[in-house]
């Protein structure tokens, strides 16, 4: 009987540890440069670290895990109203900007907001392509518990991202460099 209990306790501890490990989310950043320097940068940060540290940072525009979006013409745009409207709307391509220098597309597809920016500055061979994929749950979290229209709740967004699971957040490609930011449950990027 004692032996059985010990074995059961062992299994329980093992399962709890396995669950605890698999529950950890990691944010990875990888920058690979193809120019003559040929530099590769890899950053691996546990999501729990970001969630713990963010509320403790008090700088100009970041307080208690919330950021004030100033500049970037934010005074002209009610960012919250835009995000709120998009979150309630059906799937569609909502923004399309095509110019000589760049094309921008913002679409809602299922539970994601997709942003695609192609910056070719007149030279299509050296175009820079930026793809951003943000879950709607993260967008909604950005708008929760904020006091004014220029404020975004980054901490709540991180928590939502943590709950969402594996995801490619940002990819950037240009002639010389590629950047990837993603979330998964592995502590290493490879």
């Amino acid at each position: 009987m004692k032996k059985t209990l010990l074995v059961l306790a062992g299994i329980l501890v093992g399962a709890t540890m396995a669950l605890a490990q698999s529950a950890e989310s990691w944010v990875h950043v990888r920058v690979v440069s193809a120019d003559e320097k040929g530099e590769t940068v890899k950053v691996n940060v546990p999501m729990s670290l970001a969630v713990a540290v963010l509320p403790a940072i008090h700088s100009d525009d970041l307080h208690d895990g919330k950021v004030h979006v100033r500049g970037h013409h934010s005074e002209d745009i009610d960012l919250r109203a835009v995000l709120e409207a998009v979150s309630k709307s059906p799937d569609n391509e909502y923004v399309t900007v095509e110019s000589k220098e760049e094309n921008v597309r913002v679409a809602k597809s299922g539970e994601y907001i997709l942003i695609k920016v192609t910056d070719h500055k007149g030279n299509k061979e050296k175009a820079e392509q930026v793809d951003v994929k943000v879950p709607m749950s993260v967008v909604k979290a950005l708008l929760t518990d904020v006091n004014d229209k220029d404020e975004l709740n980054v901490l709540a967004a991180l928590e939502a991202l943590k709950a969402h699971g594996p995801l490619d957040l940002v990819t950037v490609h240009d002639g010389n460099e590629s950047v990837r930011i993603w979330v998964d449950s592995k502590s290493t990027a490879d």
Binding site: K37, G38, E39, T40, V43, P46, L49, A52, V53
Partner: protein, 154 residues
């Protein structure tokens, strides 16, 4: 044989032994700061420094509070973030936090055990630095406390 040792000497021996063991345990728990620089050129310097982390707060106590005060104002706003980061890193599994590789240099910042390891390998030298997480926090706390002695920031 033991019965022939006078009680006073036995007591002193016991105290010395106990102090040494306590010191060893405290040093082991606090860890050590290790700095190692190896120049690759022929006849280059090899410098290895190991400082028990437990000595750092004492060493900082010798720094004039005026000097500490200068840095205190800068570090105080970041102290809660440093505390939170150290606490969270303590429970994070061992991991390579940052890795930079180019044809001339390989830099890694790793969390291993209760310490941060920084390794730089370049054509000229290998540098290896280990700082216990507890030391990072304690240095930050000491720096911030230095500012409090100087008075609140203007």
């Amino acid at each position: 044989m033991i019965s022939k040792i006078p009680p006073v000497v036995a007591g002193m021996l016991f105290l010395t032994g106990a102090t040494a063991v306590t010191g060893a345990v405290m040093t082991y728990n606090a860890g050590s700061i290790r700095v190692s620089v190896e120049e690759k050129k022929p006849g280059g310097d090899h410098v290895h420094i190991i400082v028990p982390a437990i000595l750092v707060p004492a060493a900082m106590g010798m720094v004039p509070s005026k000097e500490l005060g200068k840095h205190a104002k800068e570090i105080q706003p970041w102290l809660p973030a440093i505390r939170a980061a150290c606490k969270e890193l303590e429970r994070t599994p061992d991991v390579v936090l940052v890795e930079v590789t180019n044809p001339n240099e390989h830099v890694t910042i790793t969390k291993r055990g209760g310490a941060i390891h920084i390794d730089v390998v370049d054509p000229g030298e290998n540098v290896h630095v280990v700082v216990p997480l507890g030391t990072i926090q304690s240095v930050a706390e000491r720096l911030a406390a230095g500012g409090e002695q100087e008075g609140p920031p203007a």
